[in-house]
Amino acid sequence: MPDEVHVTIGADEDLVSARAQARALADQLGFSRTDATLIATAISEIARNIVVHVGQGEIVLRSMEDERRRGLVVIAQDAGPGIRDVEAAVRDGYAGRTGLGLGLPGARRLMDEFEIVSEPERGTTVTMTKWRIPDELELLRERRRSG
């Protein structure tokens, strides 16, 4: 089970691959089908931004855990022109250059944690996380497996 998956985003077709890889990792990490769909949908939006507005970028999928929870972190990075008004961009109703918005408020609603850093001419990094809490039985099995 990989801890980290890198997805290169450079073309239209890469979105299909990004969605599939996100789902696969989410499944492996034990997320429910619904949560895996939420994650894949959020990634689809962010990946599309990269393709449409920048042309090139990378998405890293990483598994994370602390005592209580298991998480999937998504870090989407590009070296593009950046978003001038990030605060506006994450609000509903933002239309942007294309008039279609950036799907950011939607992606934010789908994930548990969402952070975006963007500077004009310096690129954009979106970091979002989905958590799940394994139940007692699963924690027991994990302890047994590692202990």
Binding site: T34, D135, L137, L140, R141, R144, R145
Partner: protein, 301 residues
């Protein structure tokens, strides 16, 4: 040597390179003395007061099966058949109340009975005895682990099943008649429960091909904005699956409060009581009158 306690994978016996002649010798010894050794084993089980919930003839027949599987596992080096048998056995005895310590106990007793018998048989040739035990011990330990893990796996599988049942029972989606489902919600509706409830509702819509669902919230403890939003989301998701939803059990006072809070219930049909809701549902389902296309899902706003 790591047992893989997911389903059905082999636990390899990582014994030191086993001399096939020695193994053959060992297995023969165990087969030739089968009756005597089995009897001894049963005696020790009874003495230790294990498997007390089972009848003597049951113990005897299970013991025979375990013994034979044990010897086969030693002979073939593969615990697959043993694993299968152990799971099967566990499935049968767990509901009877047999505990983990009992299962481990009887397997360890068999290991001891067989080891002693090897000792008695080969004590005149210490060097040979030594080599035979070298072959026997790791295999026997692996077998004990296999049986133990299979038993625990089975217990956990049963616990999971029970958890699922409890979860489903707490949110029953009832089919009233063809195409019509009722979801009575009782108790507190937090986001975890709302999610689970929505998933169950949508699965039921799909499985029953429902066109109308009546969601009754009479039994919901508190209906605040968060709860209302959960309900709205459940209704909207139902629409995406082609089902109209009617919310019942919402007093007009609460409905008004929600509207004041900015919750848009506008496009959701609400009816005061369940009975009225069911009537409305029947109306929706029975509509074939021209001019009013209410039975098909409304465009949602």
């Amino acid at each position: 040597m790591e047992p893989d306690d997911s389903d059905g994978t082999k636990v390899p016996i990582t014994a030191p390179a086993v001399d096939p002649d020695l193994l053959h010798e060992l297995v023969n010894h165990l087969r030739e003395n089968r009756e005597a050794l089995r009897e001894e084993w049963v005696r020790r089980i009874t003495e230790a007061k294990l498997l007390s919930v089972m009848e003597p003839d049951e113990i005897f027949s299970e013991v025979t099966a375990v013994y034979d599987n044990y010897v086969t596992a030693l002979e073939t080096g593969s615990v697959e058949t043993l694993q299968e048998y152990a799971r099967d056995l566990s499935e049968r005895i767990i509901p009877r109340g047999v505990e983990t310590d009992e299962v481990l106990g009887i397997v360890l007793l068999l290991r001891d009975v067989l080891a002693r018998s090897l000792f008695v048989n080969y004590q005149r040739d210490p060097e040979l005895l030594h080599r035979i035990l070298d072959s026997y011990e790791p295999a026997a330990n692996s077998i004990a682990v296999t049986v133990g893990v299979s038993f625990v796996d089975e217990r956990e599988r049963i616990i999971r099943e029970q958890q699922e049942s409890i979860r489903e029972l707490s949110t029953p989606v009832l089919q009233v008649r063809e195409r019509l489902l009722i979801l009575p919600i009782i108790g507190v509706l937090d986001s975890a429960r709302a999610r689970q409830l929505t998933e169950q509702l949508l699965a039921a819509i799909r499985d029953n091909r429902a066109r109308v669902v009546v969601i009754d919230v009479t039994g919901v403890a508190t209906i605040d904005m968060t709860v209302a939003n959960h309900l709205v989301q459940a209704v909207e998701a139902s629409r995406l699956m082609g089902a109209s939803a009617i919310l019942t059990g919402l007093s007009s006072r609460i409905a008004q409060t929600l509207v004041d809070l900015g919750v848009d219930l506008g496009t959701i049909k609400t009816v005061g009581d369940l009975e009225g809701g069911l009537e409305e549902a029947e109306r929706l389902l029975g509509t074939s009158a021209p001019g009013l296309d209410e039975a098909s899902p409304r465009p949602f706003q």
